[in-house]
Amino acid sequence: MVSLLEGRGLSLTLGKRQVIGQVSISLTQGQLTGIIGCNGAGKSSLLSLLSGYRQPQAGEVLLGGSALTQLTLTERAKRLAFLPQGQVVHWPLSVERVVALGRLPHGSGMKLGAEDRAAVNQAMIWTNVSHLAARNVNALSGGERGRVLLARALATQTPVLLADEPLAGLDPGCQLRLMDVLRGLANDGMSIALVLHDLDLATRYCDRLCLLHQGRLLAEGSPETVLTENNLTCAFGIKAWHGVIDNRRCLVPIMATASG
C-alpha cells in the first residue's frame, strides 16, 4: 500500500517538556487512521508535526515520499489539508465564504471557478451545511461551526486529510453521518487521520489506530489489537465492554479504574 504521509522518529520538546518522543506513523492510501489517547497524550502535537506547522527536534515527515521541508507551503497545501483543534473564525464571514477558503491553495481568491464551486458545494453537502451557506459563521452553534470548518478542509480536495477532533461538539447523528462520509472518502482512496475521543467510533470506522501515551506510541494496528484491556487501562484508566452489533464491532467504556 502506498504511504502518502509518513512521520519517522518524530520528537518534539516544548519548553522543557518532551511532548512527542520517537513516534513513527505512516498514513496509507485508502485508510482511515484514528489517533487516540488521553488528554495531554500528544495527539494534537503529533498532528501539528505531521502538518508541518511545528518542526520536530528529531525525525522527519515525508509527504508522498518527499521530505516536507523540501516542498513549498503551496505544494504541501495542495496535497495535505489540516483541520486544527478549536473552532475559531476571527471575522463574521459567511459560511460559504469560510468553506471557499479551502480553495485558496488552488489559487482561488475572490472569484471561484466552476471546479472550485463544485468542490465547495460538495463539501457543504457532505457536512450538511448547505442550508446555512449565507449565515454568519459566528452566529452558528459550536457543532454547526465545527461542520463548516470541516467542510473548509474537505473543499481543499487533497489526497491527505488530518483533522483534530472533527467530531467535538457534534450530536450523535451528525457524528455518525460524518464518519460515514469520511469512511467513504477513505474507501475512494483518501488517506485520513483523525484525532478521536470516542473509542466506539474509532473501533467501528477506523482501519488502524495509533494509541499515544505520554507522548509515545503505546500501540498501533487494527482496533482489535490496539484496544486491549491492558492498553485501555494503561492509556485511559478505563475498562470497556467489547461486542458486536449488526456485524460491527463496538466498544463501550464502562468504568474508570484507579490508575490512568
Binding site: S48, W91, L104
Partner: protein
C-alpha cells in the same frame, strides 16, 4: 452590493476633492470672476500650489492610515488594532520633535518630514528586531508598546528641555497634526514609501483572508505566518511613518475606516484593504475641510484634534452597539 460600495466611495472622494479645492480663506468665486484679471497668477498659486497639494496629501495620508489600520487588524485578528501599534507613529513623532528642537527643521524645509520618516523606520526596525518575526503577536505588540512608551518619554523629555515656550508650543502643535501649508514637496516625499507600503500590504491580502481561521490553518493553506507578519509590519511602518512625517500625529482614521467598511465588504479582510484605504482618504479629507471651516483665533483647528473629536464619539457609539449585538 459590492460594486455600489466602490462606486459610492469613488464618487464621495471626487466630490470631497472638489470641495477641498473650493474651501479656504479666499473664495473660489472671486477667483473665477477674476480668472483673466490682474490677480490670475495669485489664484493659480492658491489653487495649484496650496490647495491641490493639500488635497492630494489629505487623500494619501488618509488612505495610508486606513490601509495600514485594516492590515494590522487583519494580522492581529482584532478590530481594535491600530496602525501605530508597532511604534511607527510615535517614532515619527520623536524624529520630528528632535528636528524641531535641534533647529534642524528651521535649517532646511524638508528636515522635519525626513526626520519623522527616519524616526518611524528606526523605531519599527528596533521593535521588529526586538520581537523577531517568529514571535507570537502578543510579543510583537508588547515590543511596540515598549517602543511607543520610550518615544513618549523622550518627547516629554525634549519638551522639558525646550529652550523657550515657543519651541514647546511648536512641538505640541506639530504633534496635533495638520495639512496646512504643505506643498508638492511633501507629496513627492511621502508618495514613494507609501506606494511601496501599499503594494506590500495588497500582496498580503490573501494571507490575511486565510488568517481569519487562525495561524495554524493559514499555514496549512500555504501561507507562512512569518512572511505575512513581515509584509504587514514593514508595509504598515512605511505607510504610517510617511503619513505621520508629513502630517503629524492623526489618530482614529486607522481605527475607524476599517470599522466603517467591514460590513460593506462582508468582513473579508482582503477586500477590506482597498475599502479602508478609500474610506480613510474620504474621512481625512472631510476632516481637513472641517479644519479650514473651523478657524479659531485666526488659526485653523488642528487636524488630529478634529479626528479625535469625531473619532471618540464613534467609539462610544460602537460600544453601545456591541453591547447589544456583537461585532
Amino acid at each position: 452590493m459590492s460594486k455600489l460600495v466602490w462606486i459610492g466611495l469613488g464618487l464621495l472622494i471626487m466630490m470631497l476633492s472638489v470641495v477641498s479645492m473650493l474651501t479656504g480663506p479666499v473664495s473660489i468665486f472671486d477667483a473665477v470672476a477674476d480668472w483673466r484679471g490682474d490677480r490670475s497668477q495669485e489664484w493659480s498659486i492658491i489653487l495649484w500650489e496650496i490647495r491641490a497639494p493639500r488635497t492630494v496629501l489629505g487623500l494619501l495620508v488618509g488612505a495610508a492610515l486606513g490601509l495600514a489600520g485594516a492590515a494590522m487588524q487583519g494580522l492581529l485578528r482584532n478590530p481594535l488594532a491600530e496602525p501605530g501599534l508597532l511604534g511607527a507613529s510615535s517614532g515619527a513623532a520623536l524624529g520630528a520633535v528632535v528636528a524641531l528642537y535641534s533647529g534642524l527643521a528651521a535649517e532646511f524645509y524638508l528636515a522635519l518630514p525626513l526626520a519623522g520618516f527616519c524616526g518611524a523606520i528606526l523605531m519599527s526596525v528596533i521593535v521588529i528586531a526586538l520581537a523577531g518575526l517568529q514571535a507570537e503577536m502578543t510579543v510583537i505588540i508588547l515590543a511596540g508598546a515598549a517602543g511607543s512608551a520610550l518615544c513618549a518619554a523622550l518627547i516629554a523629555l525634549v519638551l522639558n528641555f525646550s529652550p523657550n515656550p515657543n519651541a514647546g508650543y511648536e512641538i505640541m502643535f506639530w504633534l496635533m497634526g495638520s495639512l496646512a501649508d504643505r506643498s508638492w514637496d511633501e507629496v513627492y516625499l511621502a508618495l514613494p514609501p507609501m506606494a511601496v507600503g501599499a503594494v506590500l500590504l495588497l500582496f498580503a491580502g490573501k494571507g490575511l483572508l486565510a488568517m481569519s481561521l487562525g495561524e495554524e490553518t493559514a499555514h496549512s493553506m500555504g501561507f507562512s505566518p512569518a512572511r505575512l507578519r513581515a509584509l504587514v509590519l514593514i508595509g504598515s511602518s512605511l505607510l504610517v511613518g510617511s503619513a505621520v512625517s508629513v502630517a503629524g500625529s492623526i489618530g482614529f482614521i486607522g481605527l475607524v475606516a476599517p470599522h466603517l467598511m467591514r460590513s460593506a465588504v462582508m468582513a473579508d479582510p482582503r477586500r477590506l484593504l482597498p475599502a479602508a484605504a478609500l474610506a480613510g482618504a474620504a474621512l481625512l479629507l472631510s476632516a481637513d475641510i472641517g479644519t479650514r471651516l473651523l478657524v479659531t483665533q485666526g488659526q485653523e483647528l488642528k487636524l488630529g484634534v478634529l479626528t479625535a473629536l469625531f473619532g471618540s464619539p464613534f467609539f462610544f457609539g460602537l460600544v453601545l452597539r456591541l453591547r447589544s449585538r456583537g461585532w
